[in-house]
Symmetry: C2
Subunit: 189 residues, 2 copies
DNA sequence: AAATGAGTAGACTAATCGGTATACTCATTG
DNA sequence: CAATGAGTATACCGATTAGTCTACTCATTT
């Protein structure tokens, strides 16, 4: 069905532009133009720019987490190794030439009003990342998987932010070193 | 001199508005109106919106770091205690009702192009925060102050981001727990 | 006394913003 | 065959964008 095709074209074009320039800085005309779709058609699929943004965030959420988890699982076998592999995957991500930081953090910054659908989506994403790491921590035999996962997520989040600002992917390996200490402390065996 | 006064009025009004709504979402008309200053006067002090943004960032940079350091030093005596006090101060910051996350991270998100004055200011701020924590780590007798400071800054940065997204200041105390472990590991005595 | 510069109010520009309207094509489907 | 719905192109809407302009006041300084 060409329906889904146009939708995806719009979402992907919007995603690219938002990453490159930010949400407010990209107009609906630009999105229509870059996706090769008319504004009329665009507003047929999404009733407002905010709805398109929401769709972009949801699309990115699913794709990113999927790619991320598969990369982690491809890089290490044991749960404990995978907790560290998270930071190797992150470093590869940071090193990509089109790395722009976390899309959800950017969205939260541009739409500061709490309790909006956009903010809710951001929250959800971070919650799912926490759950993923928590699962690994549980399998790895952490005494308090939730706490270890929180700590590692803090490191990861910090690494993303500082990698973006300093344009240096090495923050990931710094975070990895800290993670080693925390994991060692959290898994007594 | 009324010169500096008008300048500060503009900077403070702009700061408030940028925090509330983001940079692109706030127009020059709104800034002029909220500061009680004419657009003409505004453009007399700053030759463009970008220059005003830059001035806002520099103003905030100095004020924030000053307040932050004084709060840390008021909360603890020894360098080692101060390394932990950083996270107590952060938690108080997160709990403020007008907490909006890190202004520099927001700026970096809205102005993704690297090598611009705005991005440079963001970089500088994070660098100075690192230096500050590094100083504390040195005084505390860390084996590698630079490394410990990096790790603690990663935790702090992650806590800021997640506090903003989840609207919960507790991320600071989570970060503090992780910091305890890292400090213990980094200062062998 | 004259000149300068910071300030005012408010109109103004060209461009762009999010979003809508008209008039058309074309493939699918009942 | 007729109707529907997704698509095209393009013009348009009122509002707002960043930034400029004229014409004026007023205090300070030379």
């Amino acid at each position: 069905m060409s329906n889904t095709s146009k939708r995806e074209q719009l979402i992907q074009a919007a995603l690219t532009l938002f990453c490159e320039k930010g949400f407010h800085a990209v107009g609906t005309d630009a999105i229509a133009q870059h996706s090769g779709v008319t504004k009329k058609t665009m507003y047929h699929h999404f009733k407002s720019k905010d709805e398109l943004i929401l769709a972009v965030l949801r699309y990115y959420d699913e794709r990113f987490r999927n790619d991320f988890m598969r990369a982690v699982e491809g890089k290490a076998e044991t749960p404990r190794e995978r907790l560290l592999a998270v930071f190797d995957v992150a470093e590869k991500w940071f090193a990509k030439d089109n790395f722009y930081g976390c899309l959800f953090v950017a969205a939260a910054g541009e739409y500061p009003e709490p309790d909006t659908p956009i903010r809710h989506t951001c929250k959800e994403f971070k919650g799912l990342m926490q759950k993923y790491i928590e699962g690994l921590a549980t399998q790895a035999g952490a005494e308090s998987p939730e706490q270890l996962a929180s700590h590692l997520l803090l490191l990861l989040e910090g690494a993303i932010t500082l990698a973006q600002i300093h344009a240096s992917p090495q923050t990931a390996s710094q975070a990895k070193e800290a993670a080693k200490v925390l994991i060692q402390d959290a898994i007594k065996r």
